[in-house]
C-alpha cells in the first residue's frame, strides 16, 4: 500500500510541477482581479482559452515565432480585460455579469480565430521545442527525450513565473500600482485622493487578463494543442491555487512572497490532482473536486470565526 502511494506521488509530482508552473500565471492573474481589485472576473474563462487559441493560430497558420505568439496572447488577453472593464465602469453592468458577457463572447471569438474547436500543434514550433533546439539532444546527455522535455518545461515555467513576479512586484510598488491596490480596498478614498477609479479597474483587469492570456498560451503550447473549452473552470482553478498557497504559506506579508505562495499553490494543486488520478479518480469528477476544494478553503475563515463566537457564548 505504502509503495503504491509513494509511486503514485512520484509519478504525480514530475508532470505536476511544470503544469503547475504554467497554470500559476493564470492564478496570479486571477489574484489581481479577485484579491487586489476585489472583482470576481469571469472573463478569465474566456481569456485563458483566447491566449491558447491566438497563440496556436499564429504559430500554425502564420508560422510566427512561438515566443512572439505569447506576446500576442498577452495583448489579446489584455483587450478582453479592457472590454470587461468598459462594460462594468462605463455601462454600469455588474462586475460578475460584465465578466460573463465577455466570457460568452470570447467563446465565439475563439472559434472564429481557430475556425474549428481545436488546433493541434503536433510537429509545429513551440516555446518548448525552440528551447530544446538550443540544447544538445537528449541522447547525447544520456537521458530520455521525455525527461528533457519535462526539464525544459520546468525551466521555462520557473523563468516565466519569476519574470511575472518581479514585474508585478515592481509595478505594484509604483505610484500607479499603489493607486490600483487602493482601488480594490476603498474606491471612495481613491477618488477623494484624486485618482480615476474607472481607469484603475480597467487597467487592473487588463493586466490580470493579459497574464491569463499568457498562461493560456504557455499551457496550450506545452500540451501540444489548443482547445476552445480549455478555459472552463479556469477561475476556480486559479482560486484553488490562491487559497492553497494562502493556507500552506500563512503569514506571508510581502507582496513578492504572496505571489510566490500562489505559484507554489498552483504546483501543489496539480500534485493533488495528479495524485487522486493515480488513485483512480474519474476525470469527469475533477471539476467537482476542485469546486469542493475551493468552497471548503474559502469557508474555513468564516467557520473559524463562528467557532470562536460559539465558544464565547458558551
Amino acid at each position: 500500500m505504502i509503495i503504491k502511494i509513494a509511486t503514485a506521488l512520484l509519478l504525480a509530482g514530475v508532470g505536476a510541477v511544470w503544469q503547475g508552473l504554467f497554470w500559476a500565471i493564470l492564478a496570479i492573474g486571477v489574484y489581481i482581479s479577485f484579491r487586489i481589485l476585489d472583482f470576481a472576473d469571469m472573463t478569465s474563462e474566456g481569456s485563458f482559452a483566447l491566449g491558447g487559441c491566438v497563440s496556436a493560430t499564429v504559430i500554425v497558420s502564420w508560422g510566427w515565432n512561438p515566443f512572439l505568439s505569447l506576446l500576442i496572447a498577452v495583448i489579446a488577453g489584455m483587450l478582453s480585460g479592457v472590454v470587461t472593464g468598459l462594460l462594468h465602469t462605463k455601462l454600469k453592468i455588474p462586475a460578475i455579469l460584465s465578466g460573463i458577457l465577455s466570457m460568452i463572447a470570447l467563446y465565439s471569438i475563439n472559434l472564429r480565430i481557430m475556425g474549428q474547436a481545436n488546433t493541434s500543434l503536433l510537429g509545429e514550433k513551440t516555446v518548448i521545442s525552440e528551447i530544446k533546439g538550443l540544447l544538445p539532444a537528449a541522447k547525447d546527455m544520456g537521458i530520455k527525450d521525455s525527461s528533457l522535455q519535462t526539464m525544459v518545461c520546468i525551466g521555462l515555467g520557473l523563468v516565466f513565473a519569476l519574470l511575472v513576479i518581479v514585474l508585478l512586484y515592481w509595478f505594484f510598488g509604483t505610484e500607479i500600482g499603489c493607486v490600483l491596490r487602493a482601488t480594490g480596498n476603498n474606491e471612495a478614498m481613491v477618488r477623494a485622493q484624486g485618482a480615476n477609479t474607472d481607469l484603475m479597474k480597467i487597467l487592473g483587469l487588463a493586466i490580470g487578463n493579459g497574464l491569463i492570456g499568457l498562461s493560456g498560451g504557455l499551457v496550450t503550447q506545452s500540451y501540444g494543442y489548443a482547445d476552445v473549452t480549455i478555459g472552463v473552470g479556469a477561475i476556480v482553478i486559479g482560486l484553488a491555487s490562491i487559497v492553497i498557497g494562502e493556507v500552506v504559506f500563512r503569514k506571508r506579508r510581502s507582496f513578492a512572497r504572496k505571489l510566490a505562495a500562489i505559484v507554489c499553490g498552483s504546483v501543489i494543486y496539480r500534485i493533488i490532482i495528479a495524485f487522486v488520478y493515480q488513485l483512480g479518480l474519474n476525470t469527469n469528477d475533477l471539476k467537482l473536486l476542485t469546486a469542493v476544494l475551493v468552497a471548503v478553503a474559502l469557508s474555513v475563515p468564516v467557520l473559524k470565526k463562528q467557532k470562536v463566537k460559539v465558544r464565547r457564548e458558551v
Binding site: 509595478f171 509604483t174 505610484e175 499603489c178 487602493a182 481613491v190 477618488r191 485622493q193 484624486g194 485618482a195
Partner: protein, 264 residues
Amino acid sequence: MLTITNLYKTFNPGTINEKIVLNGLELKLEPADFVTIIGGNGAGKSTVLNMIAGVHFPDEGSITLGGVDITKLPEYVRAKYLGRVFQDPMLGTAADMEIEENLALAYRRGKKRGLSWGITKPEKEQYVELLKTLDLGLETRLTSKVGLLSGGQRQALTLLMSTLKNPKLLLLDEHTAALDPKTARKVLELTEQIITKNSLTALMVTHNMKNAIQYGNRLIMMHEGKIIYDVSGEEKKKLQVSDLLEKFENASGGEFANDRMILA
C-alpha cells in the same frame, strides 16, 4: 474662495420618493473661513458637501472654487482642490495598506501619477514628523496596516491625509459622529489646530450644537435645502445652544428639533 449660486437638487424626481434636498442654496466663503453647518436630518447638509466634492451633481446652479468653475468636473478631477474627511472612519483610508502607503497616496493628490516608486525615503521621514504632531504614537507604526487602527486613529490619519497637500477647501462631514466623546474631542481639537496652522478654508457639518458654536468663525443653519441662519464673528461667539434651538423652531415653523440635536 467658494461661491455656490442658486443650487438645486432633487433626488428620485418623478417618483413617490421624490425629495427636494437643495432648494436654491446660496453660499459664499472667504479665504480662511472655518464654517460649521448644522440642521436637522434631511436638511441638505451632507448633500452640499457631496455636491462640492462631486459625488452628486446639481440639477441647477453653479459651484466655483478659487475662481475655477467646478460644477461639472468629475469627482477625481476636482479632488486636487479638496480635502475630505467622512463620517465613517473606514471611508477615508485604505484598510489593507500601510500607514505610510496611505499617506503617500494622499501626498500625490492632484499630481499626475506615474511609474516612479509609490513612496520615497525623504517622504517617510516627513511622515514621521507629521504623525508626531497627532500625538497618537503612530510615528512608530509607519508600516502597520491601517485596518489595525482604532476609529479615532483612522479619523486623525484621514485628517492628516486630507490636509497633507494644502487643499483650497477642507470638507468635514460629521467626521467625529462615529467616535466616542473623548476621542471626538481630541479629533476636533486636532482639526482646529490643523486648520489654524495652515489657515485653511473649511466646511464642517455637525450634529453637535455645542461644537458648532465652539469651533470656527461662522455658523450656518440649514433647513429644507436652504440656509436659514448665518452668523459669524462676535455674534457667533455669544451664541448659546438655546438660541440655536429657538432659531431652529422659528424657522421650521414650530417643528421641534430632532432629538439628536437636543441630546447634543
